[in-house]
Point group: C2
DNA sequence: GTTTCTGCAAAGGTTTTGCAACAAA
DNA sequence: TTTGTTGCAAAACCTTTGCAGAAAC
């Protein structure tokens, strides 16, 4: 977690009269030690590697805070659980492509599409506040060769 | 529900060796009697207006079938429950804008954005299979006049 | 010292499932 | 008659919440 993020968070906490506590530090540390998407349960596991006493309830409560503060974003990967994405700090407008063959998630940014989304939104009489694109697609390499080089890197 | 859709479904059912039953007929009838998005619970309610004996379990099981057959699509409206959209038959590539002021959902289609999504997907080495865009935005009219004409039409 | 936060366990809400009776083919 | 389907109730699952003790300020 870079200093920019830590400052965002401090601003957020103090601005709301919230306290800097050990469990929060640990959970936040765990959340930003990775660039992988994770579920609440996975974050609990990661946080407990730093401090075994962290509770599930506090993880859920801290997740709510992090999403409100804009440090973390909920994303829909088409699975049953809510996933959280810690990469919006570095790539504020990225989107997700999900491989239907191996479930791997590819992040991509595209300024043209972002611009087009804004135009459409304004044309409809609205002011854009958040945008997300989810693309499901099959692997061309797998289709051609019967093997996919990123298969071993599948995200689950 | 138009004849095209009914045929799709028949093909799907017979193709899988599945049976045409009363509860399924009723649930499907209810699902396509509206263009509104609905939850499983709401569909149960609608189906029970046609036949009071329909069970919740059968609604869930039939929803799974309808999604698999492509007649219905799960959509993410940023709420806690899964919503289902019966409008993909008429507008196969539409997307959703959600008003952050009144929660109204506006559907929109745009061929440029669809094309761009396809390009991006291929550039990444994939073949597109399904795409969805969710835009959250605030109402300009409400911001300017303090009132929004569609407020009364809010979807919840 | 006051206020906020934590962990626990229980509750809440949605979705799935095992099973015996029932209906379609 | 065979196989698939239904409704029920229970279970499974993820997430939220009430509360008493602990920690931050």
């Amino acid at each position: 977690m870079d200093s920019q993020a830590r400052q965002n968070l401090d601003t957020f906490l103090t601005g709301k009269g919230l306290r800097r506590t050990k469990p929060r530090e640990v959970i936040i540390e765990a959340a930003f030690a990775t660039t992988e998407h994770f579920t609440a349960e996975e974050l609990l596991e990661m946080a407990r590697k730093l401090d075994r006493t962290v509770s599930r309830a506090t993880v859920y409560r801290t997740l709510t805070l992090l999403v409100e503060s804009g440090l973390l974003r909920e994303i829909d990967l088409g699975r049953d659980q809510t996933y959280y994405d810690p990469n919006f700090l570095q790539k504020p407008e990225h989107n997700h492509l999900i491989c239907t063959d191996c479930d791997k998630v590819v992040e991509f940014e595209d300024e043209h599409i972002a611009l087009l989304e804004d135009c459409i939104t304004r044309r409809l009489g609205f002011k854009p506040s958040s945008k997300s694109i989810q693309i499901k697609a099959s692997c061309e390499e797998l289709a051609r060769k019967g093997v996919c080089s990123s298969r071993r890197a599948a995200s689950h």
